[in-house]
Amino acid sequence: LAKTTQPPSMEAYEGQEVNVSCSHTNIATSEYIYWYRQVPHQGPQFIIQGYKDYVVNEVASLFISADRKLSTLSLPWVSLRDAAVYYCIVRGYAQGLTFGLGTRVSVFP
């Protein structure tokens, strides 16, 4: 089961773009990369997932390096509501989600 490494915290001002990196050097070929975020008193919420290259949705974009050992979650134009803990997870089919400590993103007005 691959492990992930993320920075413990990041700070940004409203309107800035935030890029959260994640290292998953032992990722298996069967594993996908997922990003979740969690605000206080709520369960984690799915943001985006990918296998390789570049994925974008209405909330965020995800860039995955060619060797799949590094991914970067990009949050454009953050607002105060984007303040949360962001988790990068690698998961294979039929496996559980294994969470690390995540990255606490603080957003200032």
Binding site: Q42, P44, Q49, F99
Partner: protein, 110 residues
Amino acid sequence: EAGVTQSPRYAVLQEGQAVSFWCDPISGHDTLYWYQQPRDQGPQLLVYFRDEAVIDNSQLPSDRFSAVRPKGTNSTLKIQSAKQGDTATYLCASIGTEVFFGKGTRLTVV
């Protein structure tokens, strides 16, 4: 679609008391997870089911914790004799194309 429902939202116990947490997953999702999340930590997997079968309960403290999903739908997680170290939020998640989490039950053991 309806989300994952958990109850109760909060529980406060004295050490030695028992408590049960209930989870109603999204209809049609055959895989269900229970996580324990201590304060300021990431969720840690306790047990997960596919339908009514336990797939992995290796992280479940079996002497005091138990989990069932008898009909492959709703699930119950029980702590037989709570300890202060059990203070945490207990999260339930169900699996479809994505993993959906409930809001959790925040347990405080005093």
